[in-house]
Symmetry: C2
Subunit: 233 residues, 2 copies
DNA sequence: CAGTGTGAACCTTTTCACAGCA
DNA sequence: TGCTGTGAAAAGGTTCACACTG
């Protein structure tokens, strides 16, 4: 496959480029410059060029990138030329929402199983699926060749569920539970914490409020407001 | 308030420490070392000490940090000594789930309004709330002193909603829609993209599969598997 | 003497700036 | 001529290692 290692930061942006390219392909544009792609993805053009250069030399100097070709290359690099069966653990609010989320299917992620421990939830229908019991996780992983597990349980249950996932052979976990989970080095974990994001916003919001209090006071606050990053990621 | 600017990366970890400290306080521990806090937060101890040193010298050499005191300081730094009223735009799957998510309330974020454009959703009850119309967004922001807006709409609608939020005076936005939104530099935006996270996992999963194919082939793959970061953030 | 606080080294990521090519 | 691809510089973040202190 692709030669040198792609930096982590770049991998994190490839899905952004992918989305922009999909939108662009729909409009019928044949080629795109790094400048335009950068605008669509919300980054700067130097970053786009550097990132894409890790995948290979897919651009044409003086012209730009061929949309269809680049789209294919980014998809291939991300491993999205195949479908990925996904299992969700936890059929609460969030588990429900994710199971029904159309965006997953559109991007090649098929939710093939949902499990929970609550007897009141086991057996419930969600879309085309029936909620299974957590004890059947390993069987479901085997049966559907699941590659990625998603944890949507309360924080207390997260580690136990993660252990079962790893035992069942999963090596990629997306964790929505507000808890740190410990797994072996062969397992990739990504964490999405909804409250954390709000807390980070609260931090910057607070600073803005504090600055304004100063500004509305005696001396003009000459310091630029743009000291606040628009995006903290 | 607090003096020197806290690095962005540190701000991003403060909620992690906060959660660990809350758990710890519940167990009754009075003090904690950077080593133990690090384990609870899933980072290393040097990072913990550096991070906390930006808030001030709150530790005691040879002893550690006073849990209750540090908890208070982290809360204060993050601006969590007050409640933050939140408005959600988009009452679909995700909007529903977030409205009902207990974790927000527990951490000082109160969902005070939900709006949508779909006539089938406007008027619907979600918890204690009634879904309002998007046109009433500004009124709701005023009435409830909303500080943070959350976008849970489809991608196409995100920019329009963001524009309304900014026009209504919001300067902090959490965007769950799969789209880049453009706002002025005075507005902080954080983005959570569910599909993006899965795509990143797919990338690493694919590489693992490729490596294993090589390993199970002729020559022993001497390259270490630990080239895969457990967490990509 | 255990554990914080922090300079200094190191590594990653971003940005700059321009040579080189279609 | 216009835009890519990329070295080199700058910025930001992490880790090391140890002086210092309660």
């Amino acid at each position: 496959m692709s030669q040198r290692p792609v930096p982590e930061a770049t991998v994190g942006r490839l899905p952004l480029y992918l989305r922009a390219l999909v939108d662009l392909a729909a409009t019928g544009e044949a080629t795109i410059s790094s400048e335009t792609l950068a605008a669509a993805a919300g980054v700067n053009s130097a970053k786009v060029r550097k990132d894409l250069s890790f995948l290979g030399s897919y651009g044409t100097r003086g012209v730009g990138y061929d949309v269809a070709y680049l789209l294919h290359q980014v998809r291939r690099e991300l491993g999205l030329t195949q479908d990925w069966p996904v299992l969700i653990a936890g059929a609460g609010n969030l588990g429900h929402a994710l199971s029904n989320y159309r965006g997953f299917g559109q991007r090649g992620f098929r939710v093939v199983a949902i499990v929970d421990v609550d007897p009141g939830k086991v057996g419930e229908r969600i879309g085309d699926l029936r909620v299974g019991h957590l004890d059947d996780l390993a069987a479901a992983v085997d049966e559907h060749q699941v590659a990625i597990g998603v944890i949507c349980t309360p924080g207390e249950a997260a580690q136990g569920v993660a252990d079962r996932m790893v035992a069942a052979g999963l090596r990629s976990i997306l964790n929505f539970a507000p808890a740190v989970i410990n797994v072996g080095p062969e397992v990739s974990v990504r964490k999405v914490d909804l409250s954390t994001e709000l807390q980070i916003l609260a931090y910057y919001e607070q600073r803005k409020a504090a600055l304004e209090a100063v500004a509305s006071g005696a001396e003009a606050a000459s310091a630029s407001l743009s000291a606040f990053p628009a995006v903290g990621r």
